[in-house]
């Protein structure tokens, strides 16, 4: 059984939206975009730990539109599919359709702040139900981002001990009984000794002598400090969760470690309580990465995806964790004009074979792009270095605007743009104007790869192969470059005249010559390109102040476009 999708109307950030889910779904989005509210919507219907009183809506739960209008009703529909589990079939009865699907609905009215629950095989055939009776067999386990390990442990401790007691063999139980008796005897001895400590006794001497002065009635009366005759059970109840590292005991842990401990405890607990034949459980964890080192974050993500036995929903701000999810399992919550929604309605199949060839795991850099407002895609590391420095010089604060500069490093731009489109993250690209040799019908031609790449990305028709003798200069002279640029620039696609180094030689010729110590520009360019990233870095570190001069040049236009997108 899986949650196929949720549709939310009029609830908090959401005016009207549908969000599709996958087997494991990662929910990302800027702060305040509505991730937690999405989780809350699911919890209203499925979280056992959410008391019935929380189902009553308050005024602020109804969506506010920017013009001041407020929604009158809230609808939250959870669509389930593939319902095969006996326990759920047994409890939902005729609410599961012939297609093995079912819908649960929460609805609320603003005029009287009332709410109602419904259940049925589809949206049009819902019957009202009086309570979330299905929670016994169908529910969500939730861990929120603010986690208090101490509190969790103190409640779980007793349970852990109890379960462990029940799981002992008879022999073990007998042995424990014997040991407990020994413990009791020794505790009695300890109590006695504690009481006899001179400084324990003495602590109350002063009090007692004053008391006897106060009143005749008190002359036989005295107070003393006592260990209170600790009983074995109390002693065990007060056991504290400790930790040991390579056998030596240490204090529990810092926040990161505590986070890991809490999540393991939580998962072990839900496994214990969960009988897969009698219950369908969904898992929701907010920001599992809290306080964790990046490698640990990745490990945790893998752990959660592979170890939790039910459908999982994870919200995160971590690129490490995001990198563990394939794009079709990522829900990107965006907010526009005061309304939140999921890009492409949530999980969608936007993978193409090129992405598949990349392998299932993404590296860290692309994952960061999912958190950006606008992504600037460039050819390689030297371009990335250059534009980052350019932005700084032009006082464009990339982080402030949530802009990420990403080098595609050999992967097709198309792969990134199709995913970014699905995520509804705007992008700008700057690509090299490559021309390559090609043979067609045994005749040699030049393939205008760069130009055609831009045209294809802009969904325009490609240009035919050019004659074999065509050069870059020809493309400028015959207007192909400017024609193409004019068409594609407004879509955020920018074409170098040749490539970054060549274009730089046009806009910053003096600086280039000085840096390379070469007599002419072609040699200077070759020098830069010989050791791309290294030489670019050197160049930038020497001449970054001069970058201001090219603010209005061709090279900078792409960056400006990217900024414009980020500000929308």
């Amino acid at each position: 059984m899986e949650i196929e999708k949720i549709s939310i109307v009029g609830f908090r950030n959401y005016l009207e939206t549908t969000i599709n889910f996958n087997k494991s779904s990662l929910i990302i989005g800027a702060n305040d975009s509505g991730k937690t509210n999405l989780v809350h919507a699911i919890r209203l219907l499925l979280d056992k730990s959410l008391p019935e009183s929380e189902l009553e809506p308050s005024e602020t739960d109804f969506h506010f539109e920017p013009n001041g209008k407020q929604s009158e009703t809230i609808f939250i529909d959870l669509h389930f599919r593939d319902i095969k589990e006996d326990a759920v079939l047994s409890t939902l009865k005729g609410s599961v359709g012939e297609d093995e699907k079912c819908v649960l609905r929460y609805s609320a009215k603003r005029d009287d702040l009332s709410y109602a629950l419904y259940c049925g095989p589809n949206r049009d055939e819902l019957d009202e139900i009086t309570s979330r009776f299905y929670l016994r067999y169908l529910n969500l386990r939730y861990v929120k981002s603010q986690r208090d390990l101490e509190k969790f442990i103190s409640t779980e401790k007793k349970q852990l001990l109890k379960i462990s007691q029940e799981n002992r063999t008879e022999k073990e139980a007998e042995e424990d009984k014997g040991k407990l008796q020994v413990i009791e005897k020794r505790l009695t001895t300890i109590n006695k000794y504690v009481r006899e400590l001179h400084y324990v006794k003495g602590a109350t001497d002063a009090v007692n002598s004053e008391l006897s002065k106060l009143s005749h009635n008190l002359s036989e009366y005295s107070v003393y400090l006592d260990s209170g005759a600790i009983e074995t059970q109390q002693f065990i109840d007060n056991l504290k969760l400790g930790a040991s590292t390579a056998g030596s005991r240490i204090s529990l842990g810092g926040d990161g470690r505590n986070n890991q401990i809490l999540l393991s405890l939580w998962k072990a607990k839900s496994e214990r309580e969960f009988d897969p034949e009698s219950e369908v459980v969904f898992y929701c964890i907010e920001e599992p990465e809290a306080h964790l080192h990046p490698h640990q974050q990745r490990k945790l993500a893998d752990y959660l995806i592979s170890e939790l036995p039910g459908q999982t929903f994870i919200t995160s701000h971590s690129p490490q964790i995001t990198a563990r999810f394939s794009p079709e399992s990522i829900v990107h919550i965006k907010s526009k004009s005061g309304k939140s929604y999921a890009a492409s309605n949530g999980c969608s199949k936007c993978i193409n074979t090129a992405w598949d060839k990349l392998g299932y795991r993404m590296s860290i850099l692309p994952a960061e792009a999912f958190f950006a407002k606008s992504v600037f895609l460039v050819e390689g590391p030297s371009e990335k270095l250059f534009y980052t420095e350019l932005a700084k010089s032009l006082k464009i604060d990339l982080d402030y605007y949530n802009i990420s500069i990403l080098s595609v490093d050999g992967v097709q731009f198309k792969v990134y743009t199709s995913i970014l489109n699905a995520m509804e993250i705007s992008w700008t690209i700057r690509t090299d104007n490559d021309i390559s040799d090609i043979t067609k019908n045994k005749k040699p031609y030049k393939n205008l790869a760069g130009i055609n790449r831009c045209l294809t990305l802009a969904r325009l028709k490609k240009i035919d192969h050019a004659p074999a003798a065509t050069t870059h200069a020809d493309l400028i002279k015959n207007g192909h470059w400017s024609g193409c640029s004019r068409k594609v620039n407004k879509k955020g696609i920018f074409l170098s005249k040749i490539d970054l180094e060549h274009d730089l030689s046009e806009e910053m010729p003096d600086e280039l010559l000085k840096y390379s110590a070469r007599p002419n520009l072609p040699l200077a360019i070759a020098y830069l390109q010989d050791k791309k990233a290294i030489r670019m870095r050197e160049f930038l570190s020497k001449y970054s102040e001069r970058l201001v001069d090219i603010e209005h040049g061709d090279i900078a236009r792409a960056l400006h476009h990217c900024l414009k997108q980020a500000r929308e």
Binding site: S90, G94, S95, P121, E125, E277
Partner: protein
């Protein structure tokens, strides 16, 4: 701890599909409840058994036995076959066959049908014939029309349920997910539709355990037949066990009863004979008068703790009228009045409410639960329902009719007919009729028809009406000598049921005269049942002339 016989243990432990022939007094309810209790132990919370009995009263008793000692029945269903069909199949799944239905789908008896609905059914019967297993499929469009009007016609319930089970995968998935075994009691009184439904359940993979006794099939006049139990016995996938030790009756009574069917039947040896033939001079009316002396005389020989341990069984309801007229000894006459004769939800509810008024042991929630599970009702409505019912106990007689009307309005939301109201008022205004609703007390002899006695037991049973032409029913043949008994098998079963209600003593009474259909007094010969072969040494004749 009850000590179980080997036969009982074998039945309880058997793991597969099973038919249990349970003779009278063999502890049938014990066997079923123990079997169910054992099965429930290994079931998950969301699973359960289906336990079908003939009456709601029997369901309650079975459920009570199964939960004895605080045991849980988990997700089991206890109820009648109609209740099962409605709540587990028809209400939840008919929408997948008929499309979305109206908000309030209601089961209706014939008496409750609206004119439109009645017309639809009469036309269907004219065109297709009566609803049967063969024409179920053709009847579906008719049932759909009724469904769209919000009506489920009671007689169609098992047919419709079977159709839904066959057509809806969602229904089959649900039944298989929840139920592991179907236990059906009184299978000898199954109808063909119920039998087919049972076979469909088996087809889904649910185990079947049926309990019945061919010799106790007494409802043949209601479309039921022991045929189906016989069919199951012959099915290779079913095993047949018998529980035959009669713990209830004195051995001489069992002997006599068994000899009715099989003249070569082995009898248990013993000295005492507890079956008596008693001749009474006069008609049935005279017999009723004379019972005032006969009963104390029997009690002198066989003392009882309470008068309620004595039962007088008659063949027809009119026999009860005679008793009511003539019996001076304190007695409870279990008869039908005009209200219980109406088959409608409203009248059934009023009967239940009248009983509730006089019997403090009935709980308010029992009544609410009969109409819909308490857990399904919203809190505010539940309070209103409970208050409406409580009032029935407290109001004065002159307000009783109005209170009952109010109560049935809130519980049922069904329009009340003038016919029903008249029957109600007639009863309320007649103290004798009203007193019928007083719960039986220990010091009243219990008087009922043979049919009503099924499942009960008494220390002493007095069986009346054993004269020719009356019991077994006889009709004139082609000539004077030809004896035609049109319902011999059913009547013999009925006689058997009556006799096997007795623990200590059974007195079979025949009168020398009888009152015929034209109210004339005729000479009466003893019933042919009294001269079946090989019965002679099994009874004693009462010498005294009454």
């Amino acid at each position: 701890m009850i000590k179980l016989t080997k036969q009982q243990v074998a039945a309880i432990d058997h793991p597969g599909n099973l038919i249990i022939t349970a003779c009278p007094g063999s502890g049938k309810t014990t066997v079923i409840s123990e079997k169910i209790r054992n099965e429930l132990v290994d079931l998950k919370r969301h699973q359960g058994v289906i336990a079908i009995t003939f009456t709601r009263k029997a369901s309650k008793e079975l459920a009570r036995r199964c939960t004895r000692g605080g045991k849980e029945t988990k997700s089991s269903f206890f109820g009648t076959i109609d209740a099962f069909c409605l709540s587990e199949i028809i209400f939840p799944f008919s929408k997948f066959i008929f499309g979305p239905g109206p908000d309030n789908l209601e089961p209706k008896f014939t008496d409750e049908l609206s004119e439109a609905e009645n017309t639809i059914i009469t036309e269907a019967v004219n065109f297709l014939g009566a609803l049967s297993v063969e024409n179920t499929y053709d009847y579906m469009p008719v049932l759909k029309v009724l469904y769209d009007l919000g009506c489920i016609y009671f007689p169609s319930i098992p047919f419709l349920a079977n159709h839904i089970v066959k057509q809806s995968k969602a229904c089959r998935n649900y039944l298989k997910a929840r139920y592991t075994t179907a236990y059906i009691d009184e299978y000898q009184d199954s109808s063909s539709a119920q039998h087919n439904l049972f076979l469909s359940l088996l087809g889904i993979g649910i185990r079947g355990v049926c309990v019945g006794d061919i010799q106790q099939s007494i409802y043949g006049w209601r479309e039921s037949s022991p045929e189906f139990l016989k069919q199951l016995i012959n099915m290779p996938t079913f095993n047949h066990l018998t529980v035959s030790v009669n713990h209830r009756c004195h051995p001489s009574i069992s002997n006599y009863a068994n000899r009715l069917f099989d003249e070569a039947c082995e009898i248990e040896q013993g000295d005492e004979i507890r079956v008596y033939y008693c001749e009474v001079e006069g008609t049935e009316l005279d017999a009723a008068v004379k019972l005032n002396n006969i009963i104390p005389s029997i009690i002198k020989k066989f003392p009882v703790k309470n008068l309620s341990d004595v039962a007088v069984l008659v063949r027809y309801n009119k026999g009860l009228e005679r008793l009511r007229e003539k019996l001076i000894i304190p007695c409870k006459i279990y008869t039908e009045d005009n209200l219980s004769r109406i088959e409608s939800k409203t009248s059934q509810l009023w009967v239940a409410l009248l009983e509730f008024r006089f019997d403090k042991s009935i709980l308010v929630d029992d009544l609410v639960n009969t109409y819909s599970p308490v857990s399904d009702i919203r809190r505010d409505r539940l309070k209103a329902l409970r208050d409406a019912i409580k009032n029935v106990r407290t109001v004065a007689l002159e307000d009783l009719a109005d209170t009952l009307l109010a109560a049935s309005q809130s519980l049922l939301d069904v329009p009340v007919t003038a016919f029903e109201v008249n029957a109600l008022i007639q009863i309320i205004n007649d103290p004798e009729l009203l007193n019928q609703y007083l719960p039986a007390t220990e010091d009243q002899v219990q008087c009922m028809t043979l049919h009503k006695s099924k499942g009960l037991e008494f220390d002493i049973v007095i069986h009346l009406d054993l004269v020719e032409w009356v019991f077994p029913k006889r009709v004139p043949g082609a000539n004077y000598n030809e004896r035609v008994y049109p319902e011999l098998e059913q009547d013999l079963n009925l006689h058997y049921v009556g006799i096997t209600r007795a623990k200590n003593a059974c007195v079979l009474i025949h009168t020398t005269q009888r009152i015929n259909a034209q109210n004339a007094v005729k000479r009466a010969d003893p019933s042919t049942f009294l001269s079946l072969p090989e019965l002679d040494k099994l009874y004693k004749i009462v010498n005294k002339k009454w």
